[in-house]
Symmetry: C2
Subunit: 371 residues, 2 copies
């Protein structure tokens, strides 16, 4: 009997969600019914957290309470703090995995735990970076009424960020906060489906996001961009990559058949952030890279429909913010922790143990020699 | 447009495997073509590791090399050792999650890394237990030609185990080493599918196994058994649980429509281990619990086909081995790490990013007030 194998589970629906809708044909993302294009640049990351866990956008008082809860949880429990201090010399994503896994297992799968975990992730990311910069002090008593993005950016830059920088990081985090079903969110739901806890699910999602087929791309992508350096070299580089059968980072997506709408909102936020000539010319270069690569891929791989995805402009805006490339994926995690936790709560509320089946193709009927 | 929702992905096949076959109708498990009933009591855990990573059972020299590799990796890297020392007072499964996540991310997804991770898990489990017993010294230089089961048991008991005890733990670990598709194995494959590493996948699988719908059952199940205490109280207890709509731990399985064959092999191994009158009467009590519960559930829930699964006799054999109840699930993890790693390598060898889809059921077309 031959069974159909849904490789990668593509095309299989396993659950309902009321969190976000990704329309890959129209090129539209909505979060709880709001178009992402209406949200980015208008609301803060703390607003999105309120929306995901409260179903409507918070008022300023509620937003302040959310930011305060997150900020309080950025002061880490001892074991997580120790995990960070043992990870100062290693990759920040590995440090984040180790430190999230060292958090105490929460009893409840609820929004209070979610806020706490969002704060824990922000605390781990910033503490790790301040420690490796040899400057932990600049983090200790920092408070900022502008919310979680300001706190994160202060920890990364080691100084008080400008309003324009905070707006740009809010644009980035709002964009990355939640995006339908994807590999790490699915892993988080799988872990919760066993009856396990939100910390176990968070650590699993972090370990999944770091993979180069998921969230691990923007850092290496920036490396490619800086290595290409000038517009005239883009097309030869793309042709060379394709000839070598190498993947062009930042292009192609399982769901989108058109341009990823997140590219558009982050491109706009990047332009708003760029002030110096150097920053403006980097934006122009990335736009050219986008246009030339799209066109060249359409010529070389006409059946693949390789469109730009979120990663190119994610790399751009974070680089403009002076975020080190190895913090790109950890910052993605800081934003996506909101979506992960919201999905955990949704899974917990209507749960069934998640695992598909495999088809056995190995040997049968072997006997142990000499028995 | 309404889509079919495969809740829990039941009935959906996502991959081929040559590792094990679980026949839920015949009640048969085979590992690389060998019936589990032929393996248990005959081969050691180190043999199964060799079989999973080498496709055939190892000869004695190969088995010795496998055990030596595992033993060497039980001496932990600094960050993992520190994670254990910060977790002395917490649940061993949470300690295992924290310490596995603190291991360095390996570059390769291969069998050498697998042996290393199996040793890491054994090292974490035993170090954590020796530290909380206040007796780390009894572990430090222990070597045992009887292999990984002897090493693990020495670490748990704090003294050299008997041959009968080592045989019993081998029976347990062989039984638990690999079992087709299940929630934690699936999570491990999902993490690898993003291009992430084996440590990230291991930590995710550990966090998934601890859930009470997956591997977290045998400890609480033993608690139930000891609380019931005598055979005359079994039937009233089962009826009371069902009346209260409580789940009877150790009964029911998604795949098996008949008795779980692992129950049979662990029952046999338990009887072989039991020596004292007290131990023999515990075995008899568990057999009665099995028979009476099966019969009473068939009467009360005739359509549910609730058969005993592996957990009842897993709890029995580990209790006979004087393993503390909170180490039942960590020892399950120690055995299953072999299967997890074998599946990671299989996924890596024929990979496609794993995630299914969701159906959006939330609001649409919302607009931000006042914008």
């Amino acid at each position: 009997m031959s069974v159909h194998i849904y490789r990668g589970l593509e095309g299989v629906t396993f659950a309902e969600t009321a969190l976000s809708e990704v329309d890959g044909l129209a090129g539209r993302v909505t979060i709880r019914g709001y178009d992402l294009r209406d949200l980015v640049g208008v609301v803060t990351f703390d607003d999105i957290v309120g929306l995901l866990f409260g179903e409507s956008l918070p008022n300023p008082t509620e937003r302040g309470a959310i930011a305060a809860s997150i900020r309080a949880a950025a002061i880490l429990p001892t074991a997580a703090r120790s995990a960070v201090s043992h990870a100062v010399t290693i990759d920040p994503m590995d440090a984040l995995r180790a430190a999230t896994a060292a958090l105490p297992s929460p009893k409840n799968t609820d929004s209070a735990t979610a806020l706490s975990l969002i704060g824990n992730v922000a605390g781990i990311l910033t503490l790790h970076h301040r420690l490796r910069q040899g400057d932990p002090g600049s983090l200790s008593e920092e408070r900022d009424s502008r919310g979680t993005s300001a706190f994160l950016l202060h920890g990364i830059l080691g100084q008080t960020p400008t309003d324009a920088q905070v707006r740009a990081l809010d644009a980035y985090l709002v964009t990355m906060s939640e995006h339908g079903m994807n590999a790490s969110t699915f892993v988080a739901r799988c872990v919760i489906s066993t009856g396990s806890d939100m910390v176990s699910a968070l650590a699993a999602a972090v370990g999944s996001l770091k993979g180069p087929r998921h969230g691990g791309v923007p850092g290496p992508l920036l490396h490619d961009l800086l290595a290409i350096g000038e517009a005239s070299k883009i097309e030869p580089w793309v042709r060379d990559q394709v000839a070598q059968k190498k993947r062009i980072l930042g292009f192609g997506h399982r769901v989108y058949k058109v341009r990823d709408p997140r590219a558009e909102v982050l491109a706009k936020a990047s332009l708003a952030l760029a002030q110096t000539d150097k920053e403006k010319s980097l934006c122009a270069f990335v736009q050219e890279f986008d246009a030339i690569t799209t066109q060249t891929l359409a010529e070389l791989k006409p059946t693949h429909n390789l469109q730009v995805n979120v990663e190119l402009y994610a790399a751009l805006i974070l680089h403009l913010l002076s975020v080190p490339a190895d913090l790109f994926t950890p910052l993605f995690a800081a934003g996506r922790t909101a979506g992960w936790c919201a999905h955990m709560i949704e899974q917990h509320g209507d749960n069934r143990l998640i695992h598909p089946e495999v088809s056995y193709v190995g040997p049968r009927g072997r006997e142990i020699a000499g028995i």
